[in-house]
């Protein structure tokens, strides 16, 4: 009898303790959660709602339900006969955004993977220095980096000066305000996002495995393909996602280096809230971008999970 009495006594005390503990934890979490809920999560909900409203005359919205914004994301109403056709302008911007983002991901991968591998296999002192050198531009104001690139690829910038002096070109090349400029800028800016996760993956390689492979008569290429690459693959996938996602949403680089003519999705969205004055369309485009990015994220998550478990 006494034993049973004690059991209830202790579990009650324990439960009360746990409740108290949970209350404290929620209390400690509440300031961060409140700020993020109001200034980051709630705005997403608002933007979703706004995408189903009608545009106001001078920006803002009229509170009546409409699917027009969503229709005009992909389709265009002919101004003469009112029939719907594909929104060529929008689609070409979608396409440019995806194309440039994929290209940026690919280039950063081709440069970033060997770079990360090289850095991670140096002696500790040099490794930390090189890592530091990769980190510094990453934490440098985006505008400064964009400005620096602009000065290099301008008509009278470094590259053209060198090319002209060498006699390789007669006329200065037009690089600024092209898709090349955007792609170059994004590669420059997002390269650390590829290098850092790959670096972390290379650092985890147990080089006794490589020794074992050489011991079992593997060639250098076989070792790279069958031992090293499978180990760093999760890092490469993570890096690709980290590069692709912000590339798709990029605004400042396209604005400055693309010169306002070569729009990306981010610029198109911004346009709707500025000169375009079509907030619902801007909201619908934002939601579309968000969905695109979340899909990429989910695919990558599914993919890496399978890789790691398998």
């Amino acid at each position: 009898m006494q034993g049973i009495h004690e059991i209830t006594l202790h579990s009650d005390a324990e439960q009360a303790q746990e409740r108290q503990d949970r209350r404290t934890r929620w209390l400690l979490s509440s300031p961060a959660l409140a700020i993020i809920a109001v200034f980051s999560i709630a705005p997403m909900a608002i933007i979703l709602v706004y995408s189903f409203l009608e545009p106001g005359k001078y920006g803002n919205v009229v509170w009546s339900f409409s699917l027009d914004a969503w229709i005009s994301v992909f389709a265009e109403r002919d101004i003469f006969d009112g029939t719907l056709g594909l929104a060529d302008a929008h689609l070409s911007i979608f396409w440019r955004s995806i194309k440039l983002s994929l290209l940026t991901t690919f280039t950063t991968m081709m440069i970033g993977v060997p770079m990360a591998y090289y850095v991670a296999t140096r002696a500790a002192g040099i490794r930390n220095l090189l890592l530091f050198l990769i980190t510094v531009p990453f934490w440098t104001n985006l505008l400064i980096r964009v400005l620096a690139i602009q000065e290099v690829i301008r008509k009278d910038g470094l590259i053209n000066t060198v090319l002209l002096n060498l006699g390789l070109v007669q006329e200065p090349l037009q690089m600024l305000f092209t898709d090349f400029a955007i792609g170059f800028g994004m590669t420059y800016v997002f390269l650390p996002l590829m290098v850092l996760p790959v670096y972390a993956a290379v650092e985890r390689i147990d080089f006794r495995l490589v020794e074992a492979a050489y011991d079992l008569y593997a060639s250098r290429w076989t070792v790279i393909r069958r031992v090293i690459f499978p180990i760093i693959r999760p890092g490469v996938i993570a890096g690709s996602a980290l590069v692709f996602i912000p590339s798709l949403g990029e605004f400042v680089i396209a604005r400055v280096l693309g010169g306002g003519k070569n729009l990306m999705l981010g610029n198109l969205i911004a346009l709707q809230f500025g000169q375009g004055r079509n907030w619902p369309l801007g909201a619908a485009l934002s939601v579309t971008m968000l969905v695109l990015i979340i899909s990429v994220l989910l695919i990558v998550l599914r993919f890496t999970k399978g890789r790691i478990n398998g």
Binding site: G3, I7, H10, S11, A13
Partner: protein, 360 residues
């Protein structure tokens, strides 16, 4: 002084529930060096954490000097712990660590200083009092952890495998040191280890645990000589087990039959007839010229390992069973080494113990 009454500890609930301690019930007296011994996962550390207050028992009670303390938080218990990895505060000096408990208790500064000095003296660390923790060796950290836990003069000191991170030589030194400290301070020590030799060397009493249950509590000698069951016997020392049978009891004693070995009378003992497990320690089996009384056996030497002080031999009997022998190496009687040679052995009846069979 400390009583554990029907302690049960269950984690989780429903189908995933796991019971780490099953109705543990015993007491430890004042000034005792008491050891909880068992393989990893046996519940010894959980029991220690229940005593320290880091875990609340699901059922049962912990009584200290007759008062229930089961629900007191660790900072309200006059019990201190030496952690397995020492858990010394890395941002404080040696003296800072030792002073921590006294300061938390709000002791006056002079008293704290004097006590810290006394404790560091006790563990021979006074000369390193202002060193940062990171600058200490493993053995030195061990001493600081001891001084820190002893400084508030707890009624019980809990030690969670404190020697496991040290190398063999240092471990032996610390065993002696711990015995000395316990003797000098007169504090009850509860020591957790999975190392039976360590437990035997230091303890007044040992509780052997497995699967959350206490199998036996006894002095090291009693544990070795009279293990309660085959698990205790095999965990504490080496053992030969024989399935056997009590045939009858006469006024001479109980008659034990061991299939393949023969029959022997256990003088002065009385047992229920039926199947039993007989235990014989390898060092109690005689060989060569001295193998003259009791059960006399012959077998083939399978292998012999020279260990210096003794030779560990495995002999296979005609019916297939293997028997382990530990033969003392003496200068006049070289141990058998030739594999395949025939060995004559004898088991004196006094060397046979009947144990409960609990292991599969």
């Amino acid at each position: 002084m400390i009583e554990l009454r029907n302690i049960r500890k269950t984690y989780g609930s429903g189908a995933s529930a796991f019971t780490a301690l099953h109705e543990v019930d015993f007491e430890i007296s004042e000034n005792e060096f008491f050891t909880l011994l068992g393989p990893s996962g046996c519940g010894k550390t959980t029991l220690l954490r229940v005593i320290a207050g880091f875990e609340t028992p699901t059922a049962g009670a912990v009584l200290l000097g007759g008062e229930e303390i089961s629900l007191l938080p660790p900072n309200k218990r006059p019990v201190n712990t030496v952690f397995q990895n020492y858990a010394l505060f890395p941002h404080m000096t040696v003296a800072g660590n030792v002073a921590f408990g006294l300061e938390s208790l709000g002791k006056p500064k002079d008293e704290v200083r004097a006590r810290v000095e006394e404790m560091l003296e006790l563990v021979q660390m006074l000369h390193l009092r202002d060193r940062p923790i990171a600058a200490l060796s493993g053995g030195q950290q061990q001493r600081v952890a001891l001084a820190r836990a002893l400084a508030p003069n707890p009624r019980i000191l809990l030690l969670d495998e404190p020697l496991s991170a040290l190398d063999l030589k240092l471990r032996k030194e610390m065993q002696v040191e711990l015995k000395r400290l316990q003797h000098e301070t007169g504090i009850t020590f509860i020591f957790v280890t999975h190392d039976q030799e360590e437990a035997m060397a230091m303890s007044d009493r040992i509780a052997v645990m497995k699967g959350g249950r206490v199998h036996q509590i006894a002095s090291p000698k009693a544990l070795y000589d009279r293990p309660a069951d085959d698990f205790v016997a095999s965990f504490v020392g080496e053992s030969n087990f024989f399935p056997a049978r009590i045939m009858s009891n006469s006024d001479q004693g109980a008659v034990l039959s061991i299939p393949g070995l023969g029959e022997v009378t256990l003088k002065g003992e009385t047992h229920d007839t039926g199947d039993v497990t007989a235990l014989v320690r390898p060092e109690h089996i005689r060989t060569g010229d001295s193998a003259t009384s009791g059960l006399i056996l012959e077998g083939r030497l399978e292998n012999a390992m020279f260990l210096g002080i003794a030779t560990l031999a495995t002999v296979r009997m005609a019916h297939g069973q293997e028997i382990s022998l530990r033969i003392r190496n003496t200068h006049d009687a070289p141990p058998p080494t030739e594999v395949g040679s025939t060995i004559t052995m004898s088991i004196p009846p006094k060397a046979i113990r009947l144990v409960r069979a609990v292991s599969a």
